[in-house]
Structure formats: structure tokens, C-alpha cells
């Protein structure tokens, strides 16, 4: 948005460890945050494997009940506070300034400080493993009174609480900075309605972060006071109040963990179909409605408490069908008429949409209180949210990685290994999470360290454990792919995929201040596609044109192109 003066160099610019750790370059911070979250992802994955081993057969006692409780608490906390949410934010820190043609992120020092606050929180949370009583062990939502000092004594739970406060504080600040970046630093010509689809998804996520994460910090601060002996959450109303405060954060966060990956998958689909994303205006409107609705559904986690008005929350939760349906309509309409290349990123993006669908449809199911009275706290819920977060967000994350890896590193990931990674992950995911729907319906509650040997339960659980092994294999394949692709580089150049958005109009990786050449004219949400189409028209290439006169089907948007 504004010209950039030579940097004020406070220390001679070092490529040293200190330089990488204290850099205010949004790309460096984004990369650091992405790498740190990836490490937490691997850690959380190991916890999941330990749990699946314990549950492979009834009465295994591979780990103790106490350890099992720590494992599922820390698995959930790690994946939500330290992997999926921060990974979505890391994508925002790295890509949003590039997509809107900015030279830097707004308030880079704040972003840098927020990254370190978040990382300290993550480390402090994990330090609980070293304490005598063990790590946090009252579930990732730490309901009172279970999480108070009488029922869960020990430093581990304190460290968990403080860790969550710090992680959430860091994420809140980053959300605010992303919001400020989008509001204030768009390049000349980029009106709000020309922002890329991915940037829009990050914008609505940032709105939700800023509106809901402070409530978590409040809830955790009150919980901490409660653990120190203050009587904050008293009796029945105290228990309900805690749940209201927690889920006012806890439901929006699942959409913060979803929207950015939806945006990533949408970009990947549009680029690999060589066609701009369909229904932009409807998409934007539905994203705003989606985000507003998802701020108002939280008490569907509390249908069985008798303390909330179930109808209101059933209404808002079911209403999510409308914006979600619009996204799917746009996805299919983008594919139709395109010229589709099934690169690895595209496979993951399609996998994201089709597998998330199972999570989404089962979400409508449990939005009905009558159905939720059975499904709540059973493995049906576990299946549902793993289909949204793992089969959804993680597939969207991998789609984004295969898509933007060349931009970040300058080298492409291997397609062969990528396809193997995709197939393994697809098989592993469905092997692990599909049987959970059936187990839940048969009556298996979540968070149990052992289960009765009812007929069929052992078999289904064994299948899930095997599936978890396949997922581990898939993740290992991905890591091998990264190492191989960085060792033997397949140089990508500026724009390996015929991208649509501004991040593809600069070198890979981009220079310190992102763009050294003049930006292309920003004529729509896909400026580079506009350029290519205009060039093709000038060259008189035969272009497929939709017959004129069909309602709403126009040619390339060119309003006030310079």
C-alpha cells in the first residue's frame, strides 16, 4: 500500500539462528510458526497412536488410565491450540500480505511477539508431562468442577491452563494483525470485492478470533483463579457459565480451523481447473453469514445439560446448511467447464471437500437435540469432528502445502510421492474414523481408557488402530517427500501452476519486501488470470465463449481496469 523505505537495521542482518528467530519479515514468522505447529502435529499424532494402541482390543492396559486421560487431553489441546489453529494463522501470516499485494504485514513486531507468546504457551503446556502428577488431564475443554484443584490437583493442570492462556493470547494478537493487514494494506486497486477467496476466508476467521478468543482467555483466567482457591464457578450455574464461556470460544475456533483451509482448497481447485472461483459475490456473502452463524451455535455442545435453550441452538446449527451448501455449489460449478489437472494439491483439495462433507452432514445430524441426546459424548461425536478437522482441515492443509510449497521454497514437491501420500491418507483416515460412527451408535462413550468386550467392538477398534498406523505411514511419506524435494530440487519458478492471485507475480521465495516489480493491474479477485485471458484475446486465440444473452454469464470482469 505504501512505499517501503530501506529497513532500519538494528543488528547487522544475520542469517543466523537469532536472525531467523527475531526477524520481522512476515514470511519468516509465518514459516517459523508453520514449522513449530508441524512439530506439535507430530507430537499430537504420537499421542493419538499411543491411545489407539491402548484401544486396539478390550482390556489392553498398554498405558495406565491416568496416562490415557493425559493423552486424550493433550492430544486434543495440542491439535487445536498448537497445530490446526496456529497453522491456519501461519498461512495467513505468510500468504495474506502477498495475496493483497502488501510489502509487509501490519504491526510486524506485534506478530513476532505474538508468535513467541503462542510458542511459549505451547511449550509450557507440554512441560506438564515432566511434572509428578502428569500433564493436563481434564479434557481439552476442562469443565469445572472436574478441572478445579480439588478434583484435578497438580502443577500439570496449572501449566495447561497457563499454556492455553498464552497460546490463545498469541493467536488473538495475530488475528488482530491479520485483520489490520487486510483492512489497511491492500495494494492500490484491490477493493474489498477484489480480494482473493483465500484472503476472504482469512478475514472472516480473523473476525471470529478477535470476537471470541478473548472470552477463552477470560474463562481460563477465571479457571486459574478457581484453581488457586477463589470460588468463581459455584454450583450448577457456575458449571453452566463456564461451559457457555468456553464454548463461546470453542465453537468459533472449529470454524477458524476450517475456513482458511476451505479458502486454500478453493484456490487450489480454481487454479487447477484453470477457471476463476464460481459465484464470488455469493461466496463472500455466505462466508460472512457462515462466520456470524458459527459464532451463535456454541451451546449445541450443551444440549444434554438442561441449562440452555436447545431450540435456538438447534436452529442456528441447522441453518449452517445454507452457507455450507453454497460453498459446495460454488466448488462444483468451478469444476464444470474447467480444464482440470489432477495434481497432488488438487487431489487433496477434492478430498477436503468430499470428506469434510461426511463431517458436515453428520454435524447436521447432531444439531438435532433428539439425535444428540444419544450421540453427545459418544464416538459418533469423535467421528464427526475428526471428519471435519482431520479429513477436512488436514486435507485442506496438505492441498495448501502442495500448492504453495514452491512459492515458499522455490522447489516443487514430488508428484509420485505426493499421490502415494494422498492415497495412504485417504485409506487411513476412513479406516480410522468411519467405524467410530458405528461404535458410537452402539453405545461406546468417548474418553474411556477401556471398553467392555461387546460383540464387534474389538474388531472395529482394531480396524481403527490399523487405520491410525496407515495415517502415520502417510505422514511419514509426506516428510520423506519434503526432504527429497528439498535435497534434489525441481525448480518451480515464479508461477508453476498458472496461479490466479498476486503471490504468483513475484519470485519464489518472494524477496524481503515481497514485490520488486510493479504489481499487475488488479482487475478482479483473479488478476493474473485476467492478464492471461486478455493476452489470449489479443493474440486472437480461439477461446470458448459462453453464448451472449444467457443471464448472468458474462465474460471476464474488467470494470475500471487501468
Amino acid at each position: 500500500m505504501s512505499a517501503t523505505a530501506p529497513a532500519v537495521t538494528t543488528v547487522s542482518r544475520a542469517s543466523s539462528v537469532f536472525g531467523a528467530a527475531a526477524s520481522t519479515d512476515h514470511k519468516r514468522i509465518g514459516l517459523n510458526m508453520g514449522l513449530a505447529s508441524l512439530v506439535f502435529f507430530l507430537g499430537g499424532g504420537v499421542m493419538a497412536l499411543l491411545m489407539r494402541t491402548q484401544l486396539a482390543q478390550p482390556h489392553m492396559q498398554f498405558v495406565s488410565d491416568a496416562t490415557y486421560n493425559e493423552l486424550f487431553t493433550m492430544h486434543g489441546s495440542t491439535m487445536i491450540f498448537l497445530f490446526v489453529t496456529p497453522m491456519a494463522m501461519a498461512l495467513a501470516i505468510y500468504l495474506v500480505p502477498l495475496q493483497i499485494g502488501a510489502s509487509s504485514i501490519a504491526a510486524p513486531r506485534m506478530v513476532l511477539a505474538a508468535f513467541w507468546i503462542w510458542l511459549s504457551g505451547g511449550i509450557i503446556m507440554q512441560l506438564g508431562w515432566l511434572t509428578q502428577e502428569g500433564a493436563g488431564r481434564s479434557g481439552w475443554f476442562a469443565y469445572v468442577p472436574l478441572s478445579n484443584s480439588a478434583n484435578t490437583p497438580g502443577v500439570g493442570q496449572d501449566l495447561w491452563t497457563v499454556g492455553v492462556i498464552l497460546a490463545a493470547a498469541g493467536l488473538t494478537i495475530i488475528g488482530g494483525c491479520v485483520l489490520a493487514t487486510i483492512a489497511r494494506r491492500r495494494a492500490p486497486g484491490m477493493s474489498v470485492m477484489r480480494m482473493p477467496v483465500f484472503t476472504w476466508t482469512q478475514l472472516v476467521s480473523a473476525l471470529m478470533v478477535v470476537g471470541s478468543f478473548p472470552v477463552l482467555i477470560l474463562a481460563m483466567a477465571l479457571l486459574y483463579a478457581e484453581r488457586l482457591g477463589a470460588h468463581v464457578f459455584i454450583g450448577y450455574s457456575g458449571a453452566i457459565d463456564y461451559q457457555d464461556l468456553f464454548w463461546f470460544f470453542g465453537h468459533p475456533v472449529v470454524y477458524v480451523m476450517f475456513f482458511p483451509f476451505l479458502g486454500a482448497a478453493a484456490e487450489v481447485i480454481a487454479v487447477n481447473a484453470h477457471k476463476r472461483w464460481f459465484g464470488y459475490a455469493a461466496f463472500v456473502a455466505s462466508m460472512l453469514a457462515f462466520a456470524a452463524l458459527s459464532m451463535s451455535v456454541w451451546s449445541h455442545h450443551m444440549f444434554t445439560t438442561g441449562g440452555v435453550t436447545n431450540q435456538y441452538f438447534a436452529f442456528t446449527s441447522t441453518a449452517l446448511v445454507v452457507p455450507a451448501g453454497v460453498e459446495y455449489f460454488d466448488m462444483i460449478a468451478t469444476l464444470i467447464g474447467g480444464s482440470i489437472l489432477l495434481r497432488t494439491s488438487m487431489l487433496f483439495a477434492l478430498g477436503f471437500f468430499l470428506q469434510f462433507l461426511i463431517g458436515g452432514l453428520s454435524g447436521i445430524f447432531i444439531a438435532s437435540p433428539v439425535l444428540d441426546y444419544h450421540a453427545e459424548d459418544s464416538y459418533m461425536i469423535v467421528a464427526h469432528f475428526h471428519y471435519t478437522l482431520f479429513a477436512g482441515s488436514v486435507f485442506g492443509f496438505f492441498a495448501g502445502i502442495y500448492h504453495w510449497f514452491p512459492k515458499v521454497t522455490g522447489a516443487r514437491l514430488r508428484e509420485g510421492l505426493g499421490r502415494l501420500h494422498f492415497v495412504l491418507l485417504l485409506i487411513g483416515t476412513n479406516m480410522t474414523f468411519l467405524p467410530m460412527f458405528f461404535l458410537g451408535n452402539y453405545g461406546m462413550p468417548r474418553r474411556i481408557a477401556d471398553y467392555p468386550s461387546h460383540p464387534g467392538w474389538g474388531t472395529l477398534n482394531l480396524l481403527e488402530t490399523a487405520g491410525a498406523g496407515v495415517i502415520a505411514l502417510a505422514v511419514a511419506t509426506f516428510l520423506v517427500n519434503v526432504v527429497v524435494s528439498l535435497r534434489h530440487r525441481d525448480a518451480a519458478g515464479e508461477d508453476p501452476w498458472l496461479g490466479h492471485t498476486l503471490e504468483w507475480a513475484t519470485s519464489s521465495p518472494p524477496p524481503r519486501h515481497n514485490f520488486e516489480r510493479a504489481l499487475p493491474p488488479i482487475t478482479s479477485y483473479a488478476p493474473l488470470l485476467d492478464l492471461r485471458q486478455r493476452a489470449a484475446d489479443r493474440n486472437g486465440a480461439a477461446m470458448t465463449r459462453v453464448p451472449a444473452g444467457r443471464a448472468g454469464l458474462g465474460p471476464t470482469p474488467q470494470e475500471d481496469a487501468p
Binding site: 488410565d65 491416568a66 486421560n69 469443565y143 468442577p145 472436574l146 484435578t152 450448577y236 450455574s237 457456575g238 458449571a239 481447473a273 477457471k275 476463476r276 472461483w277 459465484g279 459475490a281 455469493a282 444434554t304 445439560t305 438442561g306 436447545n310 431450540q311 438447534a314 441447522t318 453454497v326 459446495y328 455449489f329 460454488d330 462444483i332 464444470i336 467447464g337 474447467g338 480444464s339 482440470i340 489437472l341 468430499l354 452432514l361 438435532s368 437435540p369 433428539v370 439425535l371 441426546y373 459424548d377 459418544s378 453405545g443 462413550p445 468417548r446 481408557a449 467392555p452 485471458q533 489470449a536 477461446m543 470458448t544 459462453v546 444467457r550 448472468g552 454469464l553 458474462g554 471476464t556
Partner: protein
């Protein structure tokens, strides 16, 4: 409705099944439709030269019409859900119970108290006694907890409700057939959460009366 409940009492299992039978086929249909449409689009438009990609990019009327269809679907689903929820939550609460059982959760044990008979039963980490109930009668469970939140779940009835310290909440349930069904705590409640289980033994009303008499004779039910 009152599907499958010969007595006319609210049968939570039947209500669940009724809603399930509407929701799940719609969900499977939508899933199949979207998967087929996506895969067809990918197959048909695969590997054409990029210049041949179409340039149209919006159709507000079509999309608006589709959104209206979604709104109608939401309205239909909510109608189904709200009528069933009304029966499970409101109509059932108005029924005259044939039996009242006080259910108290504690770490990690269930305490079932029959005030009309003076019977106390316990099940959980320390031992297992069955919750014994008559069939075909509304049973009012008065749910509370002494320490942390637990949840009273009988999968056979497709119903659970939380036990929250500081409150006593009523759930009115009916067992429509005889048998032994599993029950357990569904809300994570600490170290031995997985051991907080019980069995429900549903007897015919006559059998139940006999059982209750014998328990009383044995002196308050230390079975």
C-alpha cells in the same frame, strides 16, 4: 407419533429412530449426489488445454434459487426435530411416573435410590448392581451429582442427560421391552471414568413388584 410404544408413553428410542430415518437418508442422498457430481465434473473436464476453460463465473439467480431450496430443507429438518424434541422433553415430563428413581453420580459410582421402596443400589468402580426397572411405565429419574459432572446414558433408549452438582434434573424414560441393557457415564469425570458403568434390567411390572418386595425383605437392598 409415539411410535412403537403400545402404552402411548413417549418412547425416546422410537423418537430417535423416527428423526434418524428422515435425516440419515437425506444425508446419504446429498452425499452421493455431491460425490457423483464432483467426480463426473472432474472426469468430463479433465486435461483439456487451459485456453479451453470456460470463462463464465457466476449465476446469481441459479445460486439464489439453490439457497432457497436449502432454506426449505432447513425448515423441514427443524420441523421434524422440534416436534420430536417437544415430545422427548416436554410431553414426557408431564407424564405421571409409575416409579421414581433418584440417580446420584459420584466418582466413580452410580447410586440408584428407590424412595417408594427404600431400596439403594450401587454400580461402578467398586462393584456392580443392576438398575432394575419395570417395562411399560413412565419412570422419572431424578439426576444429580455430588462432585463433578457425569452423564446418565442408556444407549438402548438413545438418551442421555447430564448430572450436574448443585442441581436435580428430571428425565422421564420408558422401557418398552424386557431385557438387560448397558448403561454408562458419558461425561468424562476423571481417573476411573471408564469403570463408571451399570446394567439396566427391565422386568415386567409383575416381576418388578416381586423383585422390589424381595429387596425390601432383604433390608434396603444390600444385594
Amino acid at each position: 407419533m409415539g411410535l412403537g410404544a403400545p402404552t402411548g408413553l413417549v418412547d425416546t428410542r422410537a423418537e430417535y429412530q423416527h428423526v434418524f430415518d428422515i435425516y440419515v437418508p437425506i444425508a446419504i442422498g446429498v452425499f452421493a449426489l455431491i460425490v457423483i457430481a464432483t467426480l463426473l465434473a472432474v472426469l468430463v473436464y479433465r486435461r483439456r488445454p487451459p485456453e479451453r476453460a470456460a470463462r463464465w463465473y457466476e449465476h446469481d439467480r441459479l445460486e439464489g434459487g439453490y439457497a432457497l431450496l436449502l432454506v426449505a430443507t432447513v425448515a423441514f429438518l427443524l420441523y421434524i426435530t422440534f416436534t420430536a424434541e417437544h415430545r422427548v422433553d416436554t410431553v414426557a415430563a408431564r407424564e405421571r411416573p409409575g416409579l421414581v428413581v433418584n440417580v446420584t453420580g459420584s466418582k466413580w459410582e452410580w447410586h440408584f435410590n428407590y424412595p417408594a421402596y427404600g431400596i439403594d443400589l450401587y454400580s461402578g468402580a467398586v462393584g456392580r448392581q443392576d438398575l432394575v426397572v419395570p417395562t411399560g411405565e413412565a419412570i422419572r429419574f431424578r439426576l444429580t451429582s455430588v462432585d463433578v459432572i457425569h452423564a446418565f446414558w442408556i444407549p438402548q433408549l438413545r438418551y442421555k442427560h447430564d448430572l450436574i452438582p448443585g442441581s436435580v434434573q428430571d428425565s422421564t424414560l420408558t422401557f418398552s421391552r424386557r431385557g438387560v441393557f448397558a448403561g454408562q457415564c458419558a461425561e468424562f469425570c476423571g481417573l476411573l471414568h471408564s469403570d463408571m458403568i451399570f446394567d439396566v434390567r427391565a422386568l415386567s411390572p409383575a416381576e418388578f413388584t416381586t423383585w422390589a418386595r424381595s429387596q425390601q425383605a432383604a433390608g434396603g437392598g444390600a444385594a
